[in-house]
């Protein structure tokens, strides 16, 4: 039906404080979740699951975590890959070293380890800001990478540094089919997405944003920088760590530190910038853009039946991808999420412009 806000009067603050104050939005989200949980598993092919949907969900989750830190709290981090690695390797250790450890607690414990490491590396943020902090967080990235390559204990003494897990199950249900894996990730994403949304629209979220927008003013109204920043690091690394665990356990199954290299850190950062800093929705948009677009671009020549060589195709893919990034930034510097909300705003006003 028509997308209208009119006539929906809020009679209490609680109702105005809902996640999606507009009824059509609520309905839309419900439908979307239902679609994702019920329809998609029935229609998607194995390739779509394994190569597109599962990576998309997991990276969305990681982007969501990173967005809390960068988008909401304003602390640019390039150590995300590292924190994901901590989550993955820690979960791995819990999983293989403790007999009978179920998957979900292992992943959550992995997240907890990532939290600890994240907070540790977050401490410099109390002094270092902006791009300086961004580059400094690379110290975390490279150090963590190195540790997992070099310290054999972390990889259960595997000679190559590569580890693998198998036989995942939740409450006796095996997670081996692509659809099961997909639903498993989807569940994580929904739960964490909801919790993150709650956080950012509550007091903690406001404290983060206040730190981001103007830290002096924030401290003057009584926000404690230490607490605000470190809590952002903690929450963010927790989510990122869990995403790392999922990436290793569910998507790759077997991985080496390179799976969480600096490229991953950059990739995640790009996702949230393109998607929209400080927007939960933006994390999803960004992940979709960065995960799916190259795959699509890569396949377009094949679909069109244009016989160009792989090299040319992937160079073209790079060029088009780069051009699209620039294009979207020019259209809307605040990311796809903002573009989306402008579109909605226009829709709301339609057919009366302005």
């Amino acid at each position: 039906m028509l997308y209208r806000e009119n006539g929906q009067f809020k009679t209490s603050y609680a109702s105005d404080q809902q996640i999606f104050p507009i009824a059509q939005d609520r309905l839309g989200i419900l439908l979307l979740v239902a679609f994702a949980a019920v329809v998609v598993p029935m229609v998607a092919s194995e390739y779509i699951f394994r190569a597109i949907l599962i990576p998309f969900l997991i990276l969305s989750l990681a982007a969501l975590g990173l967005n809390i830190l960068v988008g909401y709290c304003g602390q640019i981090s390039l150590g995300t890959g590292g924190f994901m690695a901590v989550g993955a390797y820690a979960a791995y250790n819990f999983f293989v070293r403790i007999e009978g450890m179920p998957v979900v607690p292992a992943l959550l414990l992995g997240g907890v380890c990532a939290t600890v490491v994240g907070v540790l590396f977050g401490i410099p943020s109390l002094r270092i800001k902006g791009l300086y902090l961004a580059v400094a967080t690379l110290a975390a990235q490279f150090f963590i990478d190195w540790s997992f390559l070099r310290i054999k204990w972390f990889t259960n003494d595997s000679a190559s540094g590569s580890v693998s897990v198998s036989g995942l199950q939740v409450l006796g249900l095996p997670i081996d089919t692509p659809a099961a894996k997909y639903l498993f990730c989807l569940a994580f994403l929904c739960v964490f997405g909801l919790m993150a949304k709650n956080l950012v629209r509550g007091n903690v979220g406001r404290e983060w944003m206040a730190m981001r927008d103007m830290d002096v003013a924030a401290s003057v109204i009584g926000i404690r920088p230490v607490q605000a920043k470190l809590s952002a690091f903690a929450v963010s690394s927790f989510i990122v760590g869990v995403a790392g665990g999922l990436w290793g356990f569910v998507h790759l199954g077997s991985w080496e530190p390179a799976a969480f290299s600096i490229d991953r850190s950059f990739q995640l950062l790009f996702m949230i910038i393109i998607g929209g800093l400080g927007s939960i929705m933006g994390s999803f948009f960004g992940a979709a853009f960065i995960v799916i677009l190259p795959i699509l671009l890569n396949q377009i020549p094949a679909w069109l039946g244009v016989p160009i060589s792989t090299a040319t195709a992937s160079h073209l893919e790079y060029m088009i991808f780069g051009a699209l990034i620039v294009f979207f930034l020019i259209v809307e510097p605040h990311g796809l999420a903002r573009l989306w909300s402008i579109a909605k705003e226009k829709l709301r006003l339609w057919p009366f412009p302005h």
Partner: protein, 267 residues
């Protein structure tokens, strides 16, 4: 509560804030030299002076943004050689900023809600789940903030990101955020800059209301002498970091030093 508009009828209390021999230097620049003055409870105390006199720096010392090299500040009986921002805020001191220090990416409501952060107690987990108490707390504070929004007459802009508001309204939001802290002492740094007469009148009304209804003590920096002389109980005058006058508006107005340094003859 008094309903007289006359300053003589207002209960002015004891000294709540006492600034003693404050000196502040930045490298070679002496922003403040040996400044002392006090502020009494419930009064409206103005600080005036030419540009660069050190007025904003004075406020910055009071709420802990700057640490003066010398001197003490006594607030509600506690003495500090330099103030801790959080502690000061907890003790009931709030301020607005000359160069708008709003949280640009947040909506009006959220900006004002941040003023209540110290009063919100529920922890991270409760907030993540929006479990009962967290939800109730949020609603309660939201209600308070809505009152402030009504009071400042910015209902229409509730959800607008503050960065998009015109300057004058941003100043109001700044005030709103400070009010949300329910402060005992409110420091206002040029709250009326960039407003026309009508808007200044509104702003004065807000300030006076707060002062009278809640007994909030106000420290005001302002360049509009009309406003300062009309609403303040006492005025401090700074010039080049030194105090050159202190007293009631009438006393200050007739002080020769003040006239030559600041007011000029045209006033």
């Amino acid at each position: 509560m008094s309903n007289s508009h006359d300053s003589s009828g207002k209960k002015i209390g004891d000294v709540i804030l006492d600034v003693a021999n404050i000196s502040l230097r930045f490298g070679g620049v002496k922003a403040l030299t040996d400044i002392s003055f006090n502020v009494r409870e419930h009064e409206i105390r103005s600080i005036i002076g030419p540009n660069g006199a050190g007025k904003s720096s004075m406020l910055n010392c009071i709420n802990g943004v700057y640490a003066p090299q010398e001197g003490q500040i006594t607030f509600r009986g506690q003495r500090f050689s330099h103030m801790n921002r959080r502690q000061v805020a907890e003790m009931g001191l709030a301020r607005t900023f000359q160069n708008l220090a709003l949280f640009k990416g947040m909506s009006v409501i959220d900006n004002i809600m941040t003023g209540r952060n110290m009063k919100m107690k529920s922890n991270l987990f409760l907030q993540a789940l929006r479990w009962g108490p967290a939800e109730r707390e949020e609603s309660a504070h939201r209600e308070h903030v809505e009152h402030i929004i009504d009071f400042l007459e910015i209902q229409a802009f509730r959800k607008t990101p503050v960065g998009r508001l015109p300057y004058g309204l941003q100043k109001r939001v700044d005030l709103g955020r400070a009010l949300a802290m329910e402060p005992q002492v409110l420091l206002l740094d040029e709250p009326m800059a960039g407003m026309n007469v009508e808007e200044k009148q509104d702003m004065c009304r807000f300030i006076l209301d707060v002062n009278e209804e809640f007994g909030t003590t106000i420290v005001l920096i302002e360049h509009d002498m009309g406003v300062v002389m009309d609403i303040s109980d006492r005025v401090v005058v700074l010039d080049y970091g030194k105090k050159i006058g202190d007293g009631t508006p009438d006393e200050v107005r007739s002080n020769e030093d003040v006239i030559s340094a600041y007011l000029g003859t045209s006033h």
